[in-house]
Amino acid sequence: MNGLMARALYPCAHIPDLTYDYLEGRLPALTTLRFKAHLAMCEGCAEFVSLYTLAADPVRFLDETPPPSELVELTLSFLDKELDRERGTAERDSIGEP
């Protein structure tokens, strides 16, 4: 019965396309109400929207081991050496040194 009522509000096939705008907060108020009412009565669509919401904000649970803090210093040190080397080459070129 719930499934029938849910589909009377919106066909299930419309839910994925509405979900993008729902998460962006771009659905008109009445559409949002009908969308939410559908989810309250349709387990499959509610699950879809739950998973879609997780997929749209994955940063909290993706394996994000922060890089060791010394890496930025190593990168800066490498760049310093490379840029010094490039500058040295450019200066030698400009004065015609072999």
């Binding site: 419309h14 040190s77 760049l79």
Partner: protein, 224 residues
């Protein structure tokens, strides 16, 4: 490469304090100020860019190499940077292109090895036998455990995402760039970014549901 902190101290402004025009002027100016300004840019973007590259390539060492190349390319390209996009978006676009190049190199290496018949592709294609299929999300006894399982499945689906959707998805949802920045970086219209992002998310959900054993209830598969 040392930079002093804060405009008020009379030194180089931090990335957050400086606007792009101000930073660009310093970056294009004489040394040592230009080198100090470059260090500001590196410090401000390093961890985020390293995370982005590492998520594409996996290996930390290889990612560091690529990131170093990105910064060298940025330094070299600064005189040609017109300032039409934000400095961070431009550096991201360099990282994106370097990552694409590295992935293409890997593909060439793999196909060369496959031609030599070392069997690596066969091993890679055999999959992970330990990946167990979960029971339906909502039938798990513990909601928190079920959510964690759902997150694991989403993470696996994100890792398996392929181009073109994976580029838009990673830049927008993982790296947190705005839709406008992603559109500019990838040379797409806003509408195309929206379509690709939605498709990528929907594909992730579909794959996650397969893992969770709930594929049969996917709304797009049901008759309305």
């Amino acid at each position: 490469m040392q930079e002093t902190a804060g405009v008020e101290s009379g030194g180089i402004p931090t990335f957050a304090e400086a606007n792009d025009a101000e930073l660009l002027a310093r970056l294009r100016g004489p040394e040592p100020a230009s080198r100090q300004a470059f260090a500001v840019v590196v410090r401000a973007t390093h961890d985020r860019l390293l995370g982005y590259i590492r998520r594409q390539l996996g290996s930390l060492e290889e990612s560091r190499e690529v990131l170093q190349d990105v910064y060298l390319a940025a330094h070299k390209g600064l005189p040609r940077f017109e300032g039409k996009s934000r400095l961070t978006t431009w550096i991201y676009s360099l990282a994106y292109h370097h990552v694409c190049d590295r992935i293409a190199e890997r593909a060439r290496d793999r196909s060369a090895r496959a031609m030599l018949g070392d069997g690596e592709d066969f091993l890679m294609a055999s999959g992970d036998p330990d990946v167990s299929r979960a029971t339906a999300w909502d039938s798990a006894p513990d909601a928190l455990r079920a959510r964690r399982r759902a997150e694991e499945c989403i993470a696996e689906a994100v890792a398996a995402l392929e181009p073109p959707g994976c580029h838009v998805y990673r830049l927008r949802d993982v790296e947190g760039l705005t839709g406008e920045e992603v559109a500019e970086l990838l040379g797409l219209s806003h509408a195309a970014v929206r379509v690709q992002l939605h498709r990528a998310r929907a594909e992730i959900v579909a794959r996650a549901r397969e893992r969770l054993g709930a594929g049969a209830t996917a709304p797009e598969r049901r008759r309305a």
